[in-house]
């Protein structure tokens, strides 16, 4: 097991190296010119001379491979360069905003799990009855509703019409309600359906039949056997939800003026702030790879049937 984890972790630097090369290449080979963006933001007419000064200042006047190797050399020591726009160290900027996004993502994940498990259970146990129809309707709504639109509807209802919740900004728990609802809506819809389907699947398994034959009470059959087995695939789904949540955070942070890293990355894209984009993508890659690893480990811990290559139990 430990060997497996170490092996997976050893792959991380290689993945990051490949990602950095691809990201660096794609950004540079694209049409944009950060020097031009920089001048426009500064309200300076982009004369050839002004462009040359800006390029030299941003280090864009050197050959691509020199730029990459220089960047890579400093990145491995934790220096990701300075933002073209704010001139502050990139890592400081991203680490300043990242916790705010993690807060939203964590709360959304929690909400997704806390709501989807009971909803999925009820839907499965009351299959084809009213609770099932309602839950399925909710799932359908969650998956189909564009989250930015849902966010604006929430604002309209809770901030403008009812005046119950603050429409934007960061503050106490009240400020988190709408962003978290917006972000978790889709995962909630998917997860509920997943749990319902798993429960129904498991309920027709032989071990359930045997459990019932042994005379176990229904609550034990469902609670201890069906539910636990139905939750295992949910662990995998959680790994994917983390990705969705970070994607959703970009939207929710813009709507609710939440000072998170998603909104910051979007403005970096607009401003062609390459160092920020590179670092952001690498950090996201790290989070994804680590999350997948954590999910796999949990999976093995929970379900001994799963075997690892070479590891074995």
């Amino acid at each position: 097991m430990l060997r497996y984890i170490l092996k997976r972790l050893a792959l991380l630097p290689l993945i990051l190296l490949a990602v950095s090369l691809v990201v660096f290449g794609i950004l540079r080979l694209g049409e944009g010119d950060p020097a031009m963006s920089y001048l426009r933001m500064s309200n300076i007419p982009p004369t050839d001379q002004a462009l040359a000064v800006a390029r030299a200042e941003l280090g864009l006047d050197r050959p691509l491979h020199v730029q990459y190797l220089d960047w890579l050399g400093r990145a491995v020591r934790g220096d990701f360069g300075r933002s073209y726009v704010t001139k502050n160290p990139v890592l400081d900027e991203i680490l300043y905003y990242l916790p705010n996004t993690l807060i939203l993502a964590a709360a959304s994940l929690l909400l997704t799990l806390v709501l989807s498990v009971p909803l999925g259970m009820v839907a499965a146990l009351k299959k084809d009855q009213l609770p099932d129809h309602l839950t399925r309707g909710l799932s359908f709504f969650g998956v189909s509703m564009p989250n930015f639109w849902f966010g604006f509807l929430l604002v309209w209802l809770f901030s403008i019409k009812l005046g119950w919740l603050p429409p934007m900004g960061k503050g106490g728990p009240a400020y988190m309600v709408m962003p978290v609802l917006t972000m978790s809506l889709m995962s909630l819809g998917i997860n509920t359906r997943l749990i319902r389907a798993n429960m129904l699947d498991n309920m027709h398994s032989r071990y359930v039949l045997y459990a019932r034959a042994r005379g176990l009470p229904e609550s034990v059959v469902v609670g201890r056997h069906v539910l636990v087995n139905s939750l295992i695939p949910v662990i995998t789904a959680v790994g994917m939800h983390v990705g969705e949540l970070f994607g959703g955070a970009v939207i929710a942070e813009s709507i609710f003026a939440w000072p998170g890293v998603g909104r910051y990355a979007v403005s970096a894209i607009y401003n062609r702030d390459y160092p920020i984009m590179q670092c952001f993508i690498l950090i996201m890659t790290t989070i994804f790879v680590t999350m997948n690893l954590v999910v796999d480990i949990c999976y093995a811990w929970l379900d001994p049937r799963i075997r690892y290559e070479g590891g074995g139990q």
Partner: protein
């Protein structure tokens, strides 16, 4: 066993989430009836008066002041300079500084402080190359002279290379020539590497900056002029135009002020229209600040023919365009500069909407609409034009589509080329366009800086004018108008330049861009600044 593990895993997850959520710190800007709340798409930045992005110009203008101030009529008024004299050859300016002015840290504003600031700007002259004022001063220094000289405690003399008349307009700009307190200079005096603190003479001083959330300004009680009515000004960071409208609806912000339209604007024009119809909301539209126009390429087929250019100008119903796309917020434009700009009140005859006349012009030029075809042709070549715009600019896109419709009516095919902004600006520089969007720079740059840039090859205007037989003469006249000391000659030269460009149909002016303002009735003393970067917060008072 398995379910116990599940419980453990669940508890770990809950613990992590809850502890993360609770780490959500509480920071909040001041709140009271003495606080005016505005919003901007980003933080206001480090507010170095001698540098550009990421410092926001409206905020630099709150903290720092110019020697002279630009007025709505295009003239300049005394500001930190109480008066000035100009030598006969128009090359030397003596500025008598206002006495009794202090920086917000209490140090006096005097000739030494002025010299220190000019020196810092000139040391970094390469970055300010776009600004003729800096080039003029630098040229004197480079030739061994002294461009900025202290005469006495309250008198400073500026010496220019040429008699460049718009010097006063350029001294009024928000950057780079405004004044930082000497104590805030870095130890080596080179402000291009950063400053110690944003300390100026202006009506506001910065007290708090919270990244990604808000910036707080406080009234400068040492201010020499009329002090702000409100104690605090809070600028919240709201990048999204719809979110800003919601913030206004819920009372999170007191004021929406700035350019209209999605993207760079404060709110969409449709949202502004909604506020206009609400009874208890006050809305206002400023005087023209710049011109929204398209340049026609005189150096490229088929717009190299003047008949084609004139036909295009006659084919567009600007009134309908302004009413339906700009929702009446912007006024129809008939000339490249609004008549309210200095030297621009020329009574040029507009190219009226006249599709029949436009078709006649094309017929006369040999562009024939043959039976069964939609577009005209001559010598086997179709009458087609590349219309270039920024693809994700909703306003430009809708204007481009409407223009395409108008042009089709007279048998001209418009190929819409919507690209991302950098490619668009590359086209402006290289001249690869038939018709391209290009706004004038607005007050206080119009007309002088904008005309000046027409001589520079990397500008769309230069490229568009390149096919004119009199291009060289126009450039010579522009060169002259900027340095003549004779007011009448200057007036005559501008009239000449602008009339030629108008008659040659180089520009398709659409509308005069304005600023918009939205607030509630309890906010008094609102009004528009003379330029779009100067927001008169100091006169505003919340009841």
């Amino acid at each position: 066993m398995k379910h116990i593990r599940f419980v453990i895993l669940g508890l770990v997850l809950v613990f992590c989430s809850v502890s993360l959520s609770l780490s959500n710190t509480l920071a909040a800007p001041p709140e009271s009836d003495q606080v005016l709340v505005y919003s901007w798409s980003s933080n206001v930045g480090p507010l170095n008066p001698h540098l550009y992005s990421p410092s926001q110009m409206f905020a630099q203008a709150l903290v720092y002041e110019p020697l002279v101030k630009y007025q709505a009529d295009g003239s300049v008024a005394p500001w930190l300079a109480a008066s000035w004299t100009v030598s006969e050859d128009g090359r030397e300016y003596n500025f008598n500084l206002r006495k009794g002015v202090t920086f917000s840290d209490g140090t006096p504003f005097n000739a030494q402080a002025v010299k220190l600031n000019f020196d810092a700007v000139l040391k970094n002259h390469e970055r300010h190359h776009w600004l003729e004022l800096v080039n003029q001063l630098h040229a004197v220094d480079a030739a061994g002279g002294e461009a900025v000289r202290i005469i006495d405690e309250y008198t400073v003399k500026l010496t220019l290379k040429d008699a460049y008349y718009p010097i006063l307009q350029e001294l009024a700009l928000v950057r780079p020539v405004r004044f930082l307190a000497p104590a805030a200079f870095p130890d080596d005096g080179d402000t291009s590497k950063g400053i110690k603190a944003p300390i100026g003479t202006g009506p506001w001083k910065v007290t708090e900056m919270v990244k990604g959330e808000y910036d707080v300004f406080e009234r400068n009680d040492r201010y020499w002029g009329e002090k702000p009515k409100m104690k605090h000004l809070v600028v919240k960071v709201i990048p999204d135009a719809n979110a800003r409208a919601v913030a206004f609806d819920t009372g999170e912000i007191d004021l929406i002020y700035g350019s209209g339209g999605h993207g760079a604007g404060q709110i969409g024009l449709d949202t502004f229209e909604r506020y206009r119809e609400m009874k208890d909301i006050v809305t206002a539209v400023s005087q023209p600040l710049a011109t929204r126009a398209l340049a026609l390429n005189t150096n490229r087929f088929p717009t190299n023919e003047i008949a084609v250019r004139k036909a295009i100008l006659h084919a567009v119903d600007k009134k309908a365009l302004v009413d339906h796309i700009f929702l009446g917020v912007e006024e129809k434009a008939d000339a490249i500069f609004a008549p309210s700009m200095p030297y621009c009140n020329l009574d040029l005859p507009p190219f009226a909407y006249d599709p029949a006349g436009a078709a006649g012009l094309l017929d006369g030029a040999g562009w024939i609409l043959s039976k069964g075809s939609v577009y005209r042709a001559k010598d086997g070549k179709e009458l087609a034009i590349d219309l270039c715009f920024v693809g994700n600019d909703a306003l430009q896109k809708s204007v481009a589509e409407v223009l395409q419709g108008y042009l089709k009516k007279i048998g001209v095919k418009a190929n819409l080329i919507g690209e991302e902004s950098d490619s668009f600006y590359s086209r402006q520089k290289s001249g690869e366009f038939g018709l391209i969007f290009g706004d004038t720079w607005g007050t206080p740059y119009d007309p002088h800086s904008f005309c000046s840039s027409m001589r520079i090859p990397s500008h769309a205007d230069y490229q568009a004018q390149l096919g004119l037989p009199m291009k060289a003469a126009i450039d010579t006249e522009i060169g002259k108008v900027l340095v003549t000391v004779n007011e009448d000659e200057r007036r005559r030269l501008y009239a000449d330049i602008l009339t030629t460009l108008h008659e040659q149909a180089v520009y398709l002016p659409l509308s005069y861009m304005t600023a918009i303002m939205v607030h509630r009735e309890n906010l008094e003393g609102t009004g528009f600044g003379a330029t779009k970067h100067e927001i008169p917060f100091e006169s505003m008072r919340k009841q």
